[in-house]
Symmetry: C3
Subunit: 449 residues, 3 copies
Amino acid sequence: MASTVVGAGFDLGSIPTADELGHELYALIRELYPLNRSLTGNGNRESFAILRRHAPFEVVEVPSGTPAFDWRVPREWNVREAWIAGPDGERIVDWADSNLHLLQYSISVDETLSLEDLRPHLYSDPAHPDWIPFRTSYWDENWGFCLSDRQLDSLAPGQYEVHIDATLADGSMSYAEAVLPGTTEESVLVSAYSCHPSLANDNLSGMALVTLLAKYLAHMPHRLTFRFLLSPGTIGPITWLSRNEDVVPSVRHALTCVCAGDEGDLTYKLSRDGDATIDRAVRRALLDEGKPHTIEEFVPWGGDERQFSSPGVGIPTGALMRSPHGAYPEYHTSADDLDLVKPERLADTFQTYLRVLDILDSNVTYTSTNQWGEPQLGRRDLYPKVSAGIDVGGDIDPRPMLWVLNLADGRHTLLDMAERSGFAFAPLRAAALRLEEHGLVERAGGEEL
Amino acid sequence: MASTVVGAGFDLGSIPTADELGHELYALIRELYPLNRSLTGNGNRESFAILRRHAPFEVVEVPSGTPAFDWRVPREWNVREAWIAGPDGERIVDWADSNLHLLQYSISVDETLSLEDLRPHLYSDPAHPDWIPFRTSYWDENWGFCLSDRQLDSLAPGQYEVHIDATLADGSMSYAEAVLPGTTEESVLVSAYSCHPSLANDNLSGMALVTLLAKYLAHMPHRLTFRFLLSPGTIGPITWLSRNEDVVPSVRHALTCVCAGDEGDLTYKLSRDGDATIDRAVRRALLDEGKPHTIEEFVPWGGDERQFSSPGVGIPTGALMRSPHGAYPEYHTSADDLDLVKPERLADTFQTYLRVLDILDSNVTYTSTNQWGEPQLGRRDLYPKVSAGIDVGGDIDPRPMLWVLNLADGRHTLLDMAERSGFAFAPLRAAALRLEEHGLVERAGGEEL
Amino acid sequence: MASTVVGAGFDLGSIPTADELGHELYALIRELYPLNRSLTGNGNRESFAILRRHAPFEVVEVPSGTPAFDWRVPREWNVREAWIAGPDGERIVDWADSNLHLLQYSISVDETLSLEDLRPHLYSDPAHPDWIPFRTSYWDENWGFCLSDRQLDSLAPGQYEVHIDATLADGSMSYAEAVLPGTTEESVLVSAYSCHPSLANDNLSGMALVTLLAKYLAHMPHRLTFRFLLSPGTIGPITWLSRNEDVVPSVRHALTCVCAGDEGDLTYKLSRDGDATIDRAVRRALLDEGKPHTIEEFVPWGGDERQFSSPGVGIPTGALMRSPHGAYPEYHTSADDLDLVKPERLADTFQTYLRVLDILDSNVTYTSTNQWGEPQLGRRDLYPKVSAGIDVGGDIDPRPMLWVLNLADGRHTLLDMAERSGFAFAPLRAAALRLEEHGLVERAGGEEL
C-alpha cells in the first residue's frame, strides 16, 4: 500500500534493512560506551555531540541550582583522575580502567587510610563476585569506589592511598531534545535516560535507538508531532516537565526506551491507566508482528515513566524494552557491556518502536459517507461480481472494508476496529485508504486535544 | 400463570402443538420451493401471495430505478426458458429441471459456441461435485449456467447451443411487511430474505417461520409493536430503511431469521453491541429452555443484520438460526433441499423465537410500593405462616418475590432481575404479576423511546 | 506506627488480648443464653439491661401498633408457663426446660386433646431427630410446641393436657442502639438481631460481638460515626428505619453480625451492589489477615441486610459471619448451644470486625503537594542515599511511599491504593502518614456525603 496522505502509514521503503539498522545502532553504542556520563558533566555533552551528527537534537543547558518543582538542578560533576594504591604502592583500582570504579558524584579526596577506614567507601556485589557494581550518591556528598567482590576480599591489611581529582561545582545539566512537528499538535514523546556511564544495555541501547528513530522519522511525512528526549534520570524528566508545562497537554502518548538490546524477549510495562492508546498501540504492534513478549503491570518505580505518570502530569507512558531493568543479572554492573547487546536484537526492538509509532500516526477515526445501509461496493469494483453468498475468498476479501464501513461512525479509530474485528492494523488501514479514495469514508480525526 | 394484562406473557394456549407447528412450517416451505425467486420478479409475487393467505402481510412494489441511499432498485427479472444443448442436440442443462441452473439475472442469449467459449459462463463447485451451486450476478450484466462439477467434467468438445429467454427490464421490486401494533411504539422487527429460489433451509425456512409468527401473534394481545419483513437480500432492507426513516427510532430490537430448519443446534449471532436487550433476551430464552446452543460474535457480513447495523441506523439486530449460513456444506447448492429441513427442527426454532418475543413483550421495570423495608408478605398469604428461619421449601418459595421486591426500583427490568438472581424469567414474571395483583409493585415502563 | 491523628489507625494497644476477648465474649453469651427473647417481651429487656453494663446502649421502647411503613409493631408477648402432660399425667414437654419448646408467639391454651388433634400443633425436625427445632408464628395467631422427632415418634395415643399461660397484649417492642460520634457524619452501622431465645451462635454471638465493639471503640478516637443496633429481626430494622429516615443518608456502610462463634471459616455475604466500600474493606481485611474465607453473592433474604438493602434505603450492607445461617446443621435447633460457640472463634471474628472498622476509619484520599514529578525523598531521609538503581531492599522500602505519591491525586482512597498496588492496607497507611508528617501529602477527604 502506497499513499501520499499524511497519516496513511510510514514510507518504510526509506528505512534500512534490519541488518543495516542493527549495525548502525551497535556502532553508536560502541562509540558512546567509554564516555563518563553522569547526571551532569562533559561526558554527557560529548555524547550528545556524537548523537547530533545523526538526528536533529537541540542540547539544552540548565544552570546548577535552577529550581524544578521540589528539586534543584545539581552541581556539575567532572572527574580527571581517581584511583586507590595498595600498601605496596601499586594502583589496585583505577577509574581510567572503568568509569564504574568510581561512586558517581564522589568528591575530591587525597588521603591515606587503613583498610578498616577505607572499607565503608568500597562497594561490591557478593552475588556476582567478578563484576564491578554501579553505584551513585548524587544527592548526598560522599566518595567511594566500586570493585569486584573477589578483589575486595583479597585486599590485605595496610595503608591505602586514595586519590580522587574531581570537580563538583556550579555549572549546568545538559539534556537533548528533538522535535519533529506533524500536521497536528497531538504528540508522542519517546525518551531515554542518558546518565549511565559504561553500561551498554541499560541504557546506551535506549540512547542509540531514540536517536535513530529521530533520524529516520525526520525524513518522512507524518501526522503526529514526535518528541525525542535524552536526559539524566529523575532530575532530567522533572526539569523537562518544569520547562514544558504548556507542551504537556498535547503529549498524548509516551514511551520510555530502556534495555533495548539484550537477548530477552520484548517486555512492555503498561502505563498507569493500563488501557491508554499507547498501551493498545504497543499490544497491537506486538500481536500483529507475532513476536513473543510479556506485558507487565505499571508500578511507580522504573525509568522516566515515574515522572511522566505523576498525578498532575498524567501523560500515558509505557516502557518498551527487552529484559526489564533490574531483572537480568548483569544490570548495573560491569557485565552490562558491549557483549550483552546484539545488533539483531537492537534492530528487532527498533522495528517494533517504528511499528508502534506508525500505528499511532495512522490511528484516526473515519465517517462513512453512507450512514444508512452499505454503499454499493460492486459498482466501484470493490466486491466480487459473481456472488456465491459468503464472498471471503477470491481476489477481493471485502471483510476489512465491511468492518471499516460498519465502524466508520466517527467514534471508532483504526485501533478500535482492529481490536473489535480481530484483523491486523495493516489490512484495516489499507481498506480505510481504499474506501477513502472512493469517497466512501472520510477521516474524522485523531485524539482530540 | 394466567393473566389478561397486556405484556404479562403470551397466551400460549392458542399456539398449536410442536408437531402441528412443524408440519405447518414444512408444508409452507414445500409449497414455496419450486418458485423462481430472485431480487425481483413474478416468483417473488407468487410467493407473497401464498404467504398472505396465512398472515396479514402488505406487499409493497417499488419501481425499478427508485433511489435508496447509495443504491437504485434494479430492473425486474423474469425467465421463461433457459437451456444448453450439447453437440448432439440434446438438452444437457435445463432451467426447467432446477432454477439453480441459471446464473441469477442472466440476460437473454441465443447462440452457438464452442466448449472453450462457453466455459467461462459455466459455474460448478469442485468441492461438492454432484451438486449444482447457486450463483448470482445481480449488479453486473452477464449470463451463465450452474451445473454439477461431475457434469462439467464430462462435457465433450464441440458446439453448444445456448438459449436464455429472459426479461431484464423496468418493473418493480416486491417486498412484504406485516405490522401488529401493540400498546407501545417500542417495536421488534423480525426479518428474513426472500430472494433465494429453490433453497429450503437458506432461506425458505426463514420465510415460513416469520410468516407463522405473524399469523399466531396477530391473534394475541401484546405490548410491543411487532414488525415482520420479507424482502430480497441487501437491496430489500436498504429500500425498506429508505422508506421507513421515521419508523427506525422505535425499532429497539431486531432478529433476522435464517437457516431455521436443519439438524444443527441453535446458533445466535450477537448484535453489533453484543449486550443489547435483544442479545440478553435470546440468551435468556436459550438458558431457560436449556437447549444446546452456540453464541457467535457479530461480524458485519451475513444477512439483513448487515444493513440494520449500519452506523447511522443502529437497530440492535441479532440473527437466530440453526447452522449458520456458509457453515454447512449444502449451503447455496442444490443439496439445500426439502430433505435438509425437518419439521421438528422448524418447530423447535419457532418455539425459541416465540419465547424471545414473549420475554421482550414482558420486559418491563417495576416499582415497589414499599421502597423502605419489605412489605409484610405474611398478612397477604405470600409467606409461610410458621417460620423456620430460611423458608425456601414448602408451598411458597418466596425467593422470586423477594428478588422482584428488592429490584423493584423502577430501573431493573425482569431481564435484569433474571440475570441478577439466577432465576428463570418465568418465575420472576409470575412473582411480579402476583405482587402486582396485591398492589405491592407497579409496572414502571419498558425501553423508553 | 503511632499517630494521634484521628483516622490514622485505631489505638490497638487498648484492646485486650485475643484470649481475654474470647472469654469476655463467651461469658456474655452464657449470661444471655437462658433468657426468653422474642420479637418483644421482658426477656429482651433483661438482655439489654445486661449489655448496657458493657456499652453505652440506649434502649428504645416502641408501643405496640406503632406503624412502621407497611408494618405495625406487634403486641408484646410474655410467657409464664407452658407444658404438655401425657396420658399418664406426666409433663412430657416443658418450656421451663428449654424455651425452644414453645412455638414463639403462642397464645394461652388450656385444653385436653387426643394425640391426633394435638399433632398439627407439634413441630419436629426428622432430619435431626434428637434436636428441638426453633419455630415462630409471629404474625399468625396460633399455638404450638417444638420437640425432638424421636420424642414425637414415641408419643402413645391418648389424651394430652396442654397448658400455655402467656400474654399477647399491647405493650412495646424494645431495641438498643449505641452511637459513637466521630469527626464526620459519615457513619457505619453494625447490627445484630436480638430476637432469638436460647440459640448461641445464631445469634447471641452477634449480640455479644456488637456489644464489645461498642465497648472498646467508645474509648478510642475515631473519624467515622459508629452506630451499633440490636433489634428483633425484620420488624426491628424496619422500625429503626422508620424512625431514622434523616440518619440513613449518612450511613454509608453497614455490617450485620450473625453466627460469629462457630468452628467454620469466615464467610462474607456481599452487599447488594457487590463492590461497595464495605465490600472492599472486608475483602481487604480478610486478605491482609490471610485468613481462609468465603465470599458469597448477595441474595435478598437473610438477616437485617434484607431491610437495609431495600430499593429506597440502599445502605451498602454486608454480612460478616462464620458459618452462614441455614448452612450448618445445628441452625435453629437446640444444638445451637453453648458448646457450638468457641471463645477463640469469637475473638477471631471480633478481630476481623475491628480491622474492617479500622480500615474504613482510615480510608481517606490524599493529595500530593507535588503534583508534577516526584518530591525529592532523599533529602528528607525517605530514600536510600547510595543508590543501586532498584532500591527495594535495605532499611527503607520506598515502594509503598511511591504508590501513595503516585495515587495522591485526591481521588484514590487508601483502599484504592491497596487494591491497585497489591500492598496491604497497613504499610500504605504508614507510608501516607509518614509523607503527611513531611508535608508531602495532605488528607483530601473520606466518602463525601
